[in-house]
Amino acid sequence: MSTTLVSPLTPKDAPPTGRTHWRLVPAFETNPALVGSGQTVPGKLVVLTVFAGMLHLLTENWLAVSALILLITFLPEYRRGLIACGTVYWLMFHNSWFDWALVRGVAQREGAAVNFAVVMPIGMAALIAFAAGFCWIAFRWRTASVMRRPMLLLGLCYTALLLGACYAPVIPAGRVYLWTGVLLLGPYFWFIGYTLLDRNSKDRDPLALQMGGWFPFWVGSAASFTPFPKGAAYLRRIEARTPADFAVTQIKGVKLLLWTLLLSLAIGVFRIITHVWLHIPPFPEVFRQSIARHPYPWFVAWASLIGDFLETMLSVSIVGSGVVACCRMTGFRAFRNTYRPFRARTIAEFWNRYYYYFKELLVEFFFYPAFARYFKGHRRVRIFFATLSAATLGNLIYHFIRDIHYVAELGLGKALVGFHVYGFHCLVLGIAIGISQLRGKKRPVNGNWLREQVVPAAGMLGFFCVLHIFNYDFGRTCPIREHFRFLLSLIGVS
């Protein structure tokens, strides 16, 4: 787990003052005239129109998102309340993250006669009652021994629900509802967690307002389980307090969406070049041919792997940037999710720059708690163990919950066994980040660009590229020996 926090809003890589620096997206927010205009009604409308126009090119939900941003722009004093309204709206009309196919599949398998029109409302009502009750108890009795570690208790509740869905001797309709509960609690798990983390804050928001920020509309449009940008405590810290601050934040939102648009164009061009012009097959296809013992030549496999790695990076950046751009438009100075990953020189630094809010989730829910509790007398062991807790254990738990459909499809046992490939991925990642973190970042000493910049960057990217092989588990049915076979084929060993 990386703990090297980079500030995307105050880049450390910025050139010294006085030197000209070409930027693809100019720093509009530093122009006083623009910031001033951004505080007037016509100026706000222009900013919103530009934003909505770009959003239109990126998502079909652009109109609803833009309408919510419009309301917040002109009624910033009701920002948090409006966000809560947006959350409810999104839950009612844009709940595509809910796996309907899985619920229907369970109903069919069980032969259950279920009215699907009421499954979701009943499930949501139960979830809201459970989550609100759980948080209220955690706030009210936070010193009670059972509530000392509320995330652990929440995890146990989730596990019990999952075991119930898999094995409880219930009527068919009951199993459908239990699975609905599992599928609803999973996406909210980390949002509830951030509210629980906030329970000791002096300026904590009321529970209803906190719940209004669970799956806010900017996350809902991306259907990600990762809370962007973390929880209510972070939102309070980064909220724009003055009209000028709000204008700057919105201009940064527009800039980030422009960047998202450029990245979307880039990924399209990249796909045309690699798959259409160069005829490089997609990585899953190359891997399947390897399993079928009809492998592509080693150089094609390399090209496909590198291409897929770069495409994944671009995709993560596009989704994260779009979400953060929408969040900024509502007046929160959120950090970018992906920030110049190719500037990283160490594994820990890359991990931090690549997917910031996922890393932060792992830091807050796994790294810090482990750091606070274990190996207190041994500094290096303490940091290494905390890193493993986050990058390995936390990473595994996050993805197990996110991909819970495998349990319904394969059964709990097979889904767990099939998870060994990703488990290996997380273990190697955790060890590598831990070592990288303990070694630290070497400062340039003699200005040898090749040795101090290019070689570490190539090594770091090579590591992540090769590890990317183990990121694929092909429906959790492919044993890890196939991944090693593929890895060896890359260096010419058959």
């Binding site: 703990t3 926090l5 809003l9 105050t10 983390l197 950090f335 708690p369 606070a372 973190q437």
Partner: protein, 83 residues
Amino acid sequence: MDERTLVRALVESLLNKKGDTRAFGDGDSLIFGGRLESIDALEIAFFLEDRYGIDFAEIGFDQNQLDSVDEIVSLIGTTRIGA
């Protein structure tokens, strides 16, 4: 030296290590403001454990409590009152 001076000295040394020599106020957000990194939060934690005997297993590790000089000093004060 009082706590505030010690904390300021620690923060200053952490910033200097990164080549950040800009001035900072006691209320400035250091971690969420992007000037300090999470690894520095650990350095601050080590300092608070060693010097003031603060037990993060007991109070919970919260980045918010280490985000500014004011908040760190407040944490020291709170744990002292609690002790």
